[in-house]
Subunit: 361 residues, 2 copies
C-alpha cells in the first residue's frame, strides 16, 4: 500500500510502498480517510523533533488522522465506524500512565508517538491500532475528523489550566490566543462557543498584514486581531485589556514572560508551543513577583488522551460550517500530496486524502 514517509536525513516527505498492516489481537484495521499536517510534522521533517522507529530507515508521517474501520478483528468496534486514533503508544510493556488511560502524562522514554517519535504514523492507506486508542466519531464529521486530534490538544490544555484556578471562584471574561494558525483559530472559536467568553473580549495575536484569511476568520468570529508587530504581548493590557486566560500556541518563549504581565490578577496562561533553546535576558524578579502577588499561574500541557478526543469531537460538532470551510484550505490526494506540506500565507490547514468515506473497496 502507499504511505507518506520521511527517510533519515532526507528532510522531505516521500511516497513509499509498504506492506499493508495486519491487525494483531485487540487491534482493528482502519482504512485511512484523511490525515492533517501541522507544525510538528514540519519539525519531524527537519529533524528538530521526534525520532525514527528502532531499526527503521524511514518514519511514516502523520498523527492527525481519521479513518473507517475496515476490519474490527474481534474488537468492540464495527466495520464502517468512523474513528480517530490517539497518538501515544506504549513503547514496551505497560506503565502506570497507559494503565490508567493517561498516556499524555507519561514522561519521556515511556511512550512512542505515532508519526512523530519511535512509531510509524497514519499517512498510509491503512493503519492498525489497539481498539482502545480509536475514538469513534459521528459519520457527519468524517470529512473534518482529522481536526479532532489538534482540538484535543486544546481541550487538555484548557482543562489543566482551568483546574489550576479551581481552588477559588474564577470567572474569566477576557482571553487571548497567541497564534493565528489553525489550532489558534479553532481554540478561539471554542472559547467563544463553549467557554462563555463574549466575542468582544476575545483576542488573537498574529503577525500578518491585511488582507489575510486568518484575520478574516478572527473578525468573522467577532474577536479582535492583535498584530504583535504593533502591540507586543506585554503591551496588550494598555491597548486592549488584561487577560484572564492566555493560550500560548506559538512556541515563542518570550511570550511566556510577556504573558505573565498581560494576565489579569488570578489569571492563567496555558502553554502548548514547544520552542528550541534560546538564552535571553528577562526581569526574573518582576516575573516572579507578578506570579506571586497576583496569584497567577503558568500551566504547560502536551498531548491528550481519549477523554480529550471525545471532548474535541463535541467541540468540532458545535463549530459553524463556514469556520471549518474557511479553515481547511486544501485537501490533497496522493497524486499531489506534496502540496499538503506547503506553507504560505494562504495556507491555514491542509490534509492528505487517502480515501473517501463513501468508497467501498
Amino acid at each position: 500500500m502507499k504511505a507518506i514517509a520521511v527517510y533519515q536525513g532526507d528532510g522531505h516527505p516521500s511516497l513509499v510502498d509498504v506492506p499493508k498492516p495486519e491487525p494483531e489481537a485487540g487491534e482493528a484495521l482502519v482504512r485511512t480517510l484523511r490525515v492533517g499536517v501541522d507544525g510538528t510534522d514540519h519539525e519531524v521533517l527537519s529533524g528538530g523533533h521526534g525520532g525514527f522507529p528502532e531499526g527503521e530507515e524511514y518514519l511514516v508521517l502523520g498523527h492527525e488522522a481519521v479513518g473507517v474501520v475496515e476490519d474490527p478483528n474481534g474488537t468492540d468496534l464495527e466495520r464502517g465506524d468512523v474513528v480517530v486514533p490517539t497518538v501515544r503508544r506504549r513503547p514496551n510493556g505497560a506503565n502506570e500512565y497507559f494503565q490508567r488511560g493517561e498516556p499524555d502524562m507519561a514522561p519521556a522514554g515511556e511512550y512512542h508517538e505515532r508519526g512523530i517519535d519511535g512509531a510509524h504514523g497514519f499517512m498510509a492507506e491503512y493503519f492498525t491500532s489497539p481498539a482502545e486508542y480509536l475514538v469513534v466519531i459521528p459519520e457527519a464529521l468524517a470529512s473534518v475528523g482529522f481536526l479532532v486530534e489538534p482540538v484535543s490538544i486544546s481541550e487538555k490544555a484548557i482543562e489543566h489550566a482551568y483546574a489550576s484556578r479551581s481552588a477559588f471562584e474564577w470567572n474569566p471574561e477576557s482571553a487571548l490566543v497567541l497564534g493565528n494558525g489553525s489550532l489558534g483559530l479553532l481554540t478561539l472559536a471554542m472559547l467563544g462557543l463553549e467557554y462563555g467568553y463574549d466575542a468582544d473580549r476575545l483576542y488573537c495575536l498574529g503577525r500578518r498584514d491585511r488582507p489575510d484569511p486568518t484575520i478574516d476568520i478572527i473578525e468573522e468570529l467577532g474577536a479582535t486581531y492583535v498584530d504583535s508587530r504593533e502591540t507586543p504581548v506585554d503591551e496588550i493590557p494598555d491597548v486592549h485589556e488584561s487577560m484572564d486566560f492566555i493560550y500560548e500556541a506559538t512556541g515563542f518563549p518570550k511570550h511566556v514572560f510577556q504573558s505573565v504581565h498581560a494576565l489579569a490578577p488570578n489569571g492563567v496562561a496555558a502553554l502548548l508551543g514547544v520552542p528550541s533553546d534560546w538564552e535571553f535576558e528577562v526581569d526574573g524578579g518582576a516575573f516572579h513577583s507578578e506570579l506571586v502577588l497576583h496569584n497567577k499561574a503558568l500551566v504547560g500541557s502536551v498531548n491528550s488522551h481519549v477523554k480529550h478526543f471525545e471532548a474535541a469531537t463535541e467541540s468540532l460538532a458545535a463549530m459553524p460550517e463556514w469556520l471549518l470551510d474557511s479553515l481547511v484550505t486544501g485537501i490533497y490526494g496522493l497524486d499531489e500530496f506534496e502540496r499538503a506540506f506547503d506553507d504560505d500565507d494562504t495556507t491555514i490547514k491542509t490534509a492528505v486524502q487517502f480515501s473517501t468515506y463513501e468508497e467501498r473497496r
Copy 2:
C-alpha cells in the same frame, strides 16, 4: 496603650502610645497575646513593601497575631475566645472578593493589609476587628497562635498548587522546600504530617553551615538538608532526585527557573516569596519547552483567607511539641521588643508578647 510602630523614613520599630481602640458595630475588642515577626515586617521597616495608612505618619506593625476576646461587642464571639485575625481588609466599601470571602484573591488597590499596607497592624495591647475576620482557635494553641497566619499562607499555596494537578491522577512522592526559615520548616513538617510524603523523600534547601538549629530541625524531621552553595536547585535531580512538588519561599527569582528543571514530569512549584526586580539571562526556550513537554506548572500564591486559617489551626495542632519549641527561638516583652526584630543565625522565629492568656485585666 502601648503599640509598636514604624514612623515614615525611620526604618526601625518604635514603642508608641496610641489610643485604645473602640470596637464599632460588628467588631470585637481583642486583647493581644503575641505577635510574630517575619520577613515582611523587615521589608515594611525598610520601606521595600507596603505603605502607611492614609494621612498617618506611622504604621502600627504586626500581621501575625493571636489574642483573647475582651469585648465581643454583640458579635457571635465570646469573651475569652482565643482568636487569630486575618490580614486583609476592605479599603473602602465592599468588593466582590471580600463579599465571597476570598480577600486573598483581590487585586492591588482592592485591599488593605493590617500591619503591612494602608492599615494599622496588631502590635498593640489591644486591637479591634470585624468578627468575620477573627478565627477562633483552641485555648491550647494560644501560646503558638501567632504561627497560624504564616501557616495559613502555606495552606493556600499548597491548595492552589495541588488544584493545578487535579485534572489527572497525581501521586506526588518527593518534595523540596526552598528556604529554611520558620515558614519553610513548618511547611516541611506539614508535608510529612499531612500530605503523605515519606520523610526520606523530603528535602529542604538553605545556605547555612553546621552546626545550625534549622539543619537540626530538618534532620530531626527525617528530611534531607540541601546546601544551595554545594547543590544549586537545578542540580538537585542529579544529586538527589527530581521533585514532584517544590515550595519556593525564599523570593530568590533564579529559583523559579531552576525549579522547572528540578521538577519531575507533571510536577508543580508553588511560589510564595516576593523578590525585587532583577534582570538576568535565562534559557527561556528550555524553560518554556520543559513546562510544556512534561506538563509542569508554576502557581503563584499570596495571602490567605479564613478557610486557610482554619486549616492552619489544625496543622499546628498536629505538630509535635519539640518542633514548635525548637522553632520559636524568642518571645520578648515590651521592655525588650527590639530583640524580636533581630535576625541572626540563631534566630528562627520570634514574637512580641503583649499579655498572657492567663492574665485578667
